[in-house]
Symmetry: C2
Subunit: 471 residues, 2 copies
């Protein structure tokens, strides 16, 4: 549906993985998981606001209401007629994604590209109903993926016209939800694949590490039946305030392991939190060097502390009061409507086994928002089933880039589909690592991956310009 002539989706999937709360999986608690003390980075972009249509698929009088959609532009390297590189924003502030997608800035000079980072509706400053945007299903109803895609298309088209460069090719970049794990829906990939992949990351580093984490949940569970358990746990976990439930401690640990697997980058980085290079290895080092008489829970806590306090800035942990500093809380609504990705923990995973009960999930959504999920809608709208047979005939010019450290990779396309639908898979890659600015410490495989991507983009652009010349 995009008006562009090339589209390129990077599937280094990021998104907010999750933990079971009250024994029920809430897949993307996001809102509570992202705490950052860092001030907003200075970015080489100008901020604009586009008058965007509220409802592209309806013509009721209120559908035509306009809201201000934020977008960031860099024209430093652009020449008229040269490509537009568009980042289609996902579930958070656009600056946060721009700051973590230095790849586009790195390659813009080579292509003389214009860079555009477009914020997704209902995130950051792009609030259709201002501070009332999250008030109820009546306002949140307009937060859907198809409306967001239409926003992008309308904005890109208008931008090209304003630039008097309507024939410029457009290369679209998306990561995580913005370049969605399209096979994670319905019953396409096994529901246990996500947590199995997290577990595999830890097992690959150290079997002991995996077993300690796997054993820690029973210890935590046993504590919950003891008197004074919460006080003891609060002390052991160095919480700022006394814990009200052991489930919070479980969720806190769970989150640390899942997000660390996702961002198991080969260099020091600060995406969700500041972390050292290969943080899974570092966590397992912490676990493995403990004397064997130490409890598994204390070792799991020490490992999780790496995630929450690598910068050593925390004197205590706000386990039950994390702050949403990246503006992610809309994701919870999206999982209750379109983004239904069932997940389970198998016995082989390092997490406590749990299943997925659709009825209970739907009841929670009904309770929270008064909304019923449409669990088959995403695959009806965007496909996914028999993707190889379908896409090889109906698509082209897509890179599916996945790093196998990232548990979301299991919902990605991992094999080439055609000569122009290409899967780039890196064993050591993590959640959209290729989107990050290059650094001197980048390993060879990462340098090579980005080089491949640049080569493919260059080839497609050459084809596009050749097409244009020959009509």
């Amino acid at each position: 549906m995009a008006p562009c002539c090339l589209s390129l989706f990077f599937l280094f999937l990021f998104t907010f993985a999750s933990v079971p709360a009250n024994s029920l999986p809430t897949f993307f608690p996001g809102a509570k998981q992202a705490k950052a003390r860092t001030s907003k980075p200075k970015l080489p972009f100008k901020t604009h606001y586009f008058p965007q249509t509220l409802d592209h698929f309806n013509f009721q009088p209120k559908s035509s209401k306009l809201f201000h959609q934020k977008y960031l532009i860099n024209t430093d390297y652009w020449q008229k007629g040269a490509p537009l590189f568009v980042y289609t924003g996902n579930e958070g502030d656009i600056e946060w994604f721009a700051a973590n997608t230095g790849f586009l800035l790195d390659i813009a000079p080579k292509f003389k590209a214009l860079l555009v980072f477009i914020e997704h509706r209902f995130y950051g400053e792009s609030m259709p109903f201002g501070k009332h945007s999250y008030q109820s299903a009546k306002t949140l109803g307009y937060l859907t993926s198809q409306q967001a895609m239409a926003d992008f298309a309308v904005l890109i088209r208008s931008l090209k016209q304003n630039l008097s460069s309507v024939a410029s090719p457009v290369v679209v970049f998306g990561g995580s939800y913005g370049g969605t794990p399209i096979l994670q829906f319905d019953k396409i990939v096994p529901w246990s694949s996500f947590y199995d992949a997290v577990s595999q990351d830890f097992k690959d580093v150290s079997l002991n590490c995996y077993e300690v984490i796997k054993g820690s949940w029973a210890e935590l569970e046993a504590m919950s039946t003891q008197k004074e358990a919460l006080a003891e746990l609060s002390k052991a976990f160095r919480t700022c305030k006394s814990l009200r439930s052991t489930a919070s401690a479980r969720d806190w640990l769970w989150t640390a392991f899942v997000y660390t697997a996702m961002v198991n980058y080969p260099t020091q980085a600060n995406f969700m939190k500041p972390l050292p290079a290969y943080p899974v290895q570092q966590m397992c080092k912490i676990i493995d060097k403990f004397p064997s008489r130490a409890t598994k829970l204390s070792r799991a806590f020490a490992a999780a502390s790496l995630y929450y306090n690598y910068s050593r800035s925390e004197n205590c942990f706000e386990i039950e009061h994390e702050v949403d500093s990246h503006g992610l809380h809309g994701w919870d609504w999206q999982t209750c409507t379109e983004m239904v990705m069932p997940m389970t923990c198998s016995k082989e995973s390092m997490f406590p086994p749990f299943g997925f009960n659709y009825g209970e999930f739907a009841a929670i959504c009904q309770m929270k928002y008064g909304v019923s999920p449409r669990p088959h809608w995403i695959t009806t709208e965007f496909g996914g089933e028999r993707i190889r047979n379908v896409l090889k005939r109906f698509g082209s010019n897509i890179i599916f880039s996945n790093g196998m450290q990232d548990p979301w990779s299991r919902g990605g396309v991992l094999k080439n589909i055609s000569s122009s639908i290409i899967a780039l898979v890196t064993e050591k890659g993590a959640h959209h690592v290729d989107f990050r600015s290059s650094t001197e410490d980048d390993p060879d495989w990462l340098v090579e991956l980005r080089k491949q991507e640049v080569g493919i983009i260059q080839k497609w652009l050459n084809e596009y310009y050749a097409d244009l010349r020959h009509g």
Copy 2:
């Protein structure tokens, strides 16, 4: 977006072409144009109603409201695993389209295909708000092409599941709006192309015929300044009731010439009205055989009478009171929202010259419905600009079938785009003539055209089943 694996669009465009009313073009007065005395035909289909979601792109509580979408099914020839042939309904009662699309019934046995004719929302019985559906923009707002496409996709997916035949290939057939003239929007084809094409049809038969019609408007215009003109005109035009304006007579003539060009079929047929084979030729015969002293207007009237009274069932004409017997009145709303197809009459056309003023058009829509058209939305959503360059990479398995007698063909794709995006163009073809049941009188080119279509469909199905076997 369709969940299918093959899609096939026939672009034998039908839709309700138009005349300027009060000097402003209202492109699809449809509602007043279709009068049929014929009773509903008996069709070999079972009628079903699908509980359809009102708003696929919103999750406000009322979006989840269901309405009953009508569809017709024929399972006489079907075998499990065999294809589904789906006709995506357009702006009228689905029975009417089913009755005029005998091609599907003709070819079903060969393919062991299941036939499904799906009614478009807000037409026929598929009224989301019952008799209040057309009450205002608040209800009509849900009448959009993308909602209709989503309806089709959801229904097809559900149907395949209910048939336990999810891997069945789906071949989609659409005519006219249901297989839209995608280049008719924005500034892709010249705005004068439609009426130039109508004029060309008449000119090709007889230059005199073209010139008589071209000259008749001035005679009509001159009458409107005379005393007693309306009474005289009412008599000359054999109206049942006295005319209230000469514009009605002009629109009535205009409609006859436009629709006759569209349905200039090689055999006797009854789509809009009962008509003889090659009705444009017949009209010109009537005009040419008049003595030259007869006024041009009287000759134009005699020709138009062929369109309105070929069956000789009319004793007088209801020029200002045509009945909408095919349920077409929603089209007017669609042209005021998404389906903005600017049209003009050039000096070379046989119609009085007129331009297109977007501001005036928008003002009329605002007055009628309180709605503002979004004139660039269709091309943003579905593309159209630089279609060759785009579709050759991003699409496949489409037949664009156009008959050059049909003025809508000028907004169609008339050249092959790739080995699987094929343009079938017939010089003597008219508005989706290939969709009609075969008859003994069919000329060779029509027999050959359908044969080509069947061959292409067969090839694609073979490819699909081969893909399925080899994963």
